[in-house]
């Protein structure tokens, strides 16, 4: 007998025709409707969403992906072609969704209801609908699937029974609830007004935490940068000195040493807002020492030797990466988070990834994957299987074609920009030009006094 908790692509191809949709035949109160929405939990295989009101399949796809948390990056908002049903199916299978509740289905076009039922049949999902009275066309569509009409009380009882039986797909090893909330976006001000802007924009408790981090980092940065900027460190002293009597520092060596320190700050940060607070504090410390430290945040992150260690250890990182709609995007970010380089990510065969996404084997070494990240690897693996790819073919593919070096780089960069996750490093971002500060380390130093 097939284990219902591990749907595979065979199920997806043949469909689970035996599952009957359940229709709520009576009206629900506002409190009951709110309780239904509250039971939405993708990690337990329960999806609750407002029925889409447009007949296009892309509208349904978009609604389902949004319900799964795959809201799409900022640059993809509004692109209808990016939300096809082919993208949705691997996600539904990877999340192991068992129940899909469409509220206010009476507003739903019958074509959209038909698409929802077909999608659910392919993924082995039970469809539940609320909203009455239904249109005749709705009834015809539902009759074709042998839908079961229940009274409001029966419907709620059945739904509560189903939700009570739902179990988390992944073991709760993350300790998400015990961790503090993620940092909110930080102000865009440069360092001269950054702290004041934080005080103005952030809630009092968040500001208190951010300010404590700011002041602690500033103290640490002053201790670390003072020997470098005052020329006490021989590694940064210039061999040739244009001005006698003045300590001259080699700009290239100085930038390298300072950027190394900034990379340690990035390595200790779990998210982009935290990186911003630390870097602004370092800039203030440098300014108080008489130096203007200009920082190109995106570039300085990209020139780190490895992705942020703190971000890789934080389960919220993997939760944040679930916003990507294409499975390959999340999978690339997970592999980058495992500290794989650009070439390895592109050449990795599909068979190197465990079926449940728990491990990735590279050159004989098995890397464990954090539980919240496994769903992204599963989705990509299922996507390949649905497209008929073999285990020997590359795991990362974009619509069947191998991913390019640029595609891998831009995807991990998108994680930095859209999800605020600093997984970018020189292993993935292999762009290096030693000509100007913008493309070298991403920092510039100039004495200002």
């Amino acid at each position: 007998m097939t284990d219902p908790n591990t749907p595979d692509t065979t199920t997806a191809r043949t469909g689970w025709q035996g599952i009957r949709p359940r229709v709520c035949g009576g009206p629900l109160t506002t409190a009951q409707a709110r309780a239904l929405h509250a039971s939405h939990d993708p990690d337990r295989g329960l999806l609750v969403l407002s029925a889409p009101t447009a007949p296009q399949p892309s509208t349904l796809s978009s609604a389902v992906l949004n319900a799964l948390g795959a809201t799409g990056s900022l640059r993809l908002v509004g692109r209808v072609a990016d939300t096809t049903l082919e993208v949705v199916l691997p996600w539904l299978l990877a999340y192991r969704v068992r129940h899909l509740l469409l509220t206010r289905a009476d507003r739903m076009p019958s074509a959209s209801l038909q698409h929802a039922l077909e999608l659910a049949a392919a993924a082995g999902i039970t469809v539940w609908t609320t909203g009455a009275p239904l249109h005749d066309l709705h009834r015809q569509v539902l009759a074709g699937r042998r839908a079961q009409t229940l009274t409001a009380e029966e419907f709620l009882t059945a739904w509560n029974t189903a939700t009570a039986q739902a179990q988390p797909v992944e073991p709760d090893e993350t300790g998400l609830t015990a961790r503090p909330a993620a940092w909110p976006p930080m102000p865009a001000d440069d360092f001269p007004t950054f702290r004041a802007a934080m005080r103005r924009c952030l809630p009092a408790d968040v500001f208190a935490a951010a300010d404590a981090l700011f002041l602690a980092t500033m103290t640490d940065a002053r201790a670390r940068l003072a020997p470098l900027l005052c020329g006490d460190n021989d590694a940064v002293r210039a061999v040739e000195q244009d001005r006698p009597g003045v300590v001259c520092l080699d700009r290239t060596a100085l930038e390298k040493q300072v950027s190394r320190y900034l990379h340690t700050l990035i390595g200790a940060s779990t998210s982009t807002p935290e990186v911003t607070v630390r870097l602004r504090a370092a800039q203030v410390a440098a300014f108080r020492l008489g130096w203007l430290l200009s920082v190109n945040l995106d570039r300085v992150v990209a020139t780190a030797d490895e992705p942020s260690v703190a971000a890789r250890r934080d389960p919220r990182t993997w939760q944040a990466l679930r916003l990507f709609r294409y499975p390959y995007q999340g999978a690339i970010c997970v592999l980058a988070g495992l500290d794989l380089d650009n070439n390895t990510i592109r050449a990795l065969p599909a068979g190197a990834v465990a079926g449940d996404g728990s491990t990735v084997t590279v050159h004989g070494h098995r890397f464990p994957v954090p539980p919240p990240a496994r769903v992204m690897l599963r989705a990509q693996r299922l996507s390949g299987q649905l497209a008929g790819r073999t285990d020997a073919q590359p795991f990362i593919h974009v619509a069947g074609a191998p991913a390019t070096r640029e595609r891998v780089r831009t995807t991990v960069r998108a994680a930095l920009l859209d999800a605020g996750v600093p997984l970018l490093s020189r292993k993935v971002d292999e762009t290096w030009a030693g000509n100007d500060w913008l493309n070298r380390w991403g920092i510039a130093l100039q004495e200002v006094s």
């Binding site: 506002t30 409190a31 409707a33 709110r34 929405h37 407002s50 009101t53 908002v77 509004g78 509220t103 206010r104 507003r107 865009a188 001000d189 440069d190 360092f191 001269p192 007004t193 950054f194 702290r195 004041a196 802007a197 005080r199 002041l215 500033m218 900027l229 005052c230 020329g231 210039a238 040739e240 000195q241 244009d242 001005r243 003045v246 300590v247 001259c248 520092l249 080699d250 700009r251 290239t252 100085l254 203030v284 300014f287 108080r288 020492l289 008489g290 130096w291 203007l292 200009s294 130093l445 100039q446 004495e447 200002v448 006094s449």
Partner: protein
């Protein structure tokens, strides 16, 4: 009622100006309007419209919190269909809806059908529609509009002259504040060390001062806006640079040296002095 509206407390402004012994010329200069216009403003012969920047400057000049210059009063509008229900419970529910919908529209960032919003927040469409109308009234002074066009409700920048001006001003200041250039940093560092500027700064210095003032990094004491050597660091800058503890910034004790570019083309630079002479 369409919700509380804000208006300027002209009486407080006038009383405060008189108590500080500030001439109308100074305040008119701060607001960037003619003195006669300012007198009409104080006389109440005005629509009472100030940009956020003007309000901030006015409050700073009068050494008051900007909020004390505003009066909250209920007003009656023509949209009587959106009136708050007379009972407190209804008003509370409306306020809760507004609190939910504002962030939701900002986060979603695209048009959402009203019925979908109603479904999400567990309210009926009419209540959501009324809450959106209230949200529109609250956000309009900031140059933001809650659009209620056919696709649904969304939050977009306003196209009115007043709203656009406010938004432009904020964007301009935000753009300047996002990056500090080296000449401006030098000036700011001098001021942070306690140095004073020349009575008549050079033209290049004046340009940098202008940038620093426009970005809100420097400010002039009330009544001294025309004197460059009276400019001081804005309190926000002093706070951000942690200068409030009394410890001034330090002067750099080293300088950077960069290898000259294209040195290979200028071989005489590496030649010995006697060879150069020969």
């Amino acid at each position: 009622m369409t919700g509380p509206q804000l208006r300027l407390d002209i009486a407080t402004i006038r009383d405060r100006r008189i108590s500080l012994n500030l001439p109308t010329r100074i305040l008119a200069g701060e607001l960037g309007i003619a003195e006669a216009g300012y007198r009409r403003f104080e006389g109440g012969d005005t629509d009472g419209h100030l940009t956020i920047t003007q309000l901030g400057r006015l409050a700073a000049t009068l050494e008051l919190d900007a909020r004390t210059l505003l009066l909250t009063e209920p007003t009656t509008g023509h949209r009587t269909q959106t009136d708050l229900p007379p009972d407190e419970a209804g008003a509370k529910a409306r306020a809760e809806l507004v609190r939910l919908l504002g962030p939701m529209l900002l986060i979603i960032g695209r048009a959402v059908p009203v019925a979908t919003l109603a479904d999400l927040v567990g309210a009926d469409s009419a209540a959501v529609q009324a809450a959106l109308e209230q949200l529109r009234d609250q956000l309009a002074p900031g140059g933001l509009v809650v659009s209620l066009s056919k696709p649904g409700a969304t939050l977009v920048p306003g196209h009115t002259k007043q709203g656009a001006a406010v938004t432009r001003q904020l964007l301009r200041q935000a753009e300047r504040r996002a990056a500090l250039n080296t000449p401006s940093a030098r000036l700011m560092h001098r001021l942070s060390r306690g140095d004073t500027l020349a009575q008549v700064p050079k033209q290049a210095e004046r340009q940098q001062l202008s940038i620093l003032v426009q970005a809100g990094w420097l400010q002039a004491p009330p009544g001294r806006s025309g004197v460059p050597n009276r400019l001081v660091l804005h309190p926000d800058v002093a706070y951000s640079l942690v200068l409030e503890d009394g410890e001034p910034t330090e002067q750099a004790s080293a300088s950077v040296w960069t290898e000259p570019s294209n040195r290979a083309k200028f071989t005489w630079l590496d030649a010995e002095p006697d060879q150069q002479e020969g």
